[in-house]
């Protein structure tokens, strides 16, 4: 009879872990990230949302820890999310580079004369090359040509250019970030963005995601408790549930979900107290 209960405990724990893994990776991440991404506004386009979902599904690590007394925690960690340096490498797409010139006044990068009308341009990811135009001029180009889609009069005599759309630029950014193996656009949702249009609203990304995952994990664990009680009841034992405690969550930079459910099971042969 003791063996049955111990197997039941192990089965319930495995059941809880597997179900939580599946639910988080398959359903919860996609749905919640899409909702949070859309709350970010125009500055967080569909291509960012899709990339973030893909990346987080692939880079989610779920581990469980037991503490010998039946307590268990499930830890959800997102890796390789990227930082502000990674985010910055997705900017300045197509910006003109101020290239170094050699002894005869030809550009070392392009091999062309210094004052050619087609200077080299940044190809993402941006590696910190010196830029030809000042920030103010580049901002003007961004707002008028990229965001508003209007032709732009350059400083080069007679030359008017049209720019790629914001959607195309966003696509290029995602390609660059994907190549680097990161998804730093989560920072835009976490802190918001107002350095240029279109802006992104801050949506408290990590806190919101933590609350959602914690809630899902709690539901899964409750299901596991019910399953275990059924196992014991089917074995003919009487069961007394003494209560449940509220789930806790803590912010650690990873997303950790806890659920404590306490059930006291008395049998003729053993008295085991467990919580998970």
């Amino acid at each position: 009879m003791v063996d049955t209960f111990e197997r039941g405990l192990d089965d319930a724990e495995r059941f809880a872990i597997n179900k939580t893994n599946e639910a988080i990776k398959r359903d919860v991440l996609g749905t919640s990230i899409r909702a949070l991404g859309e709350a970010g506004g125009e500055g967080f386009p569909e291509v960012y949302i899709d990339h973030l979902i893909r990346h987080m599904r692939y880079n989610t690590h779920i581990s469980s820890n037991t503490f010998g007394n039946g307590q268990m925690e499930i830890e959800v960690t997102f890796s390789n999310m990227g930082d502000y340096d990674d985010l910055a490498r997705g900017f300045h797409d197509g910006a003109l580079i101020q290239e170094e010139t050699g002894a005869h006044g030809y550009g070392k990068l392009s091999g062309k004369p210094k004052y050619n009308i087609h200077p080299p341009q940044v190809q993402l990811p941006y590696n910190g090359e010196p830029l030809m135009n000042e920030q103010e001029r580049r901002q003007e180009f961004w707002e008028q040509a990229v965001v508003d889609g209007e032709p732009f009069q350059t400083d080069m005599k007679g030359l008017t250019v049209t720019a790629p759309s914001f959607g195309e630029v966003a696509y290029n950014r995602v390609s660059a970030w994907e190549g680097l193996g990161v998804a730093p656009e989560w920072l835009l949702l976490e802190y918001g963005y107002t350095e240029s249009r279109p802006e992104v609203s801050p949506v408290d990304f990590t806190n919101s995601l933590e609350s959602i995952i914690n809630c899902v994990a709690s539901e899964i664990y409750t299901g596991a408790v019910v399953a275990l009680i059924k196992i014991a009841q089917d074995a003919g034992e009487s069961i007394r549930v003494v209560g449940t405690s509220a789930p806790r969550s803590g912010r650690t930079g990873r997303f950790v979900a806890y659920k404590e459910a306490l059930a006291e099971v008395e049998t003729d042969y053993s008295h085991c107290l467990f919580s998970f």
């Binding site: 502000y84 941006y126 830029l131 103010e136 920072l187 350095e195 240029s196 806190n207």
Partner: protein, 152 residues
């Protein structure tokens, strides 16, 4: 009245924060909300509210009372990293230690606003994304969870 609640809360919090920073020797512009049609000049501190919730106690709540949980984000736009880092510490202290009295336009007390949960307070310094900006702007981001308790 629902819209007016958050308006007065934000106004009262901004006012208290401005006084606190001034007394601590800071010279900053204080404004409310996240977006602005005006350019954000250094040094500016902006108070904004993130998604909120109603707090329900396990044993229920009294009919005439209401508690709202406000997740607050305070953005401090500063001209260099050092100043951003310093003001983050200052504002985190403010969030942790200073209770706010929410007042309406006629200075009537409406509610009390307190951050009970110190572990909900976080502070980060976010660098500028654009290289070679004309206006260098580092951003301190401070967050905390307030409970706003209305008596009626």
């Amino acid at each position: 009245m629902g819209r007016a609640k958050s308006y007065f809360e934000r106004r009262s919090l901004s006012s208290a924060l401005g006084t606190y920073l001034q007394n601590a020797g800071w010279t900053v512009n204080i404004r409310e909300g996240y977006f602005s049609n005006d350019a954000i000049e250094s040094d500016t501190v902006a108070v904004t509210f993130l998604p909120s919730a109603i707090a329900e106690l396990q044993i229920g709540r009294a009919a005439q009372e209401k508690t709202i949980v406000r997740r607050v984000q305070i953005n401090a736009y500063m001209s260099n990293e050092h100043k951003a880092s310093d003001i983050v510490d200052e504002i985190m202290e403010f969030v942790d230690m200073v209770p706010i009295t929410v007042e309406d336009a006629d200075d009537n007390d409406l509610a009390s606003m307190i951050c009970y949960d110190s572990s909900s307070i976080s502070g980060d310094v976010v660098p500028p994304i654009m290289k070679n900006p004309s206006v260098t702007r580092w951003r301190g981001v401070i967050r905390g969870t307030y409970e706003v308790h209305y008596l009626d």
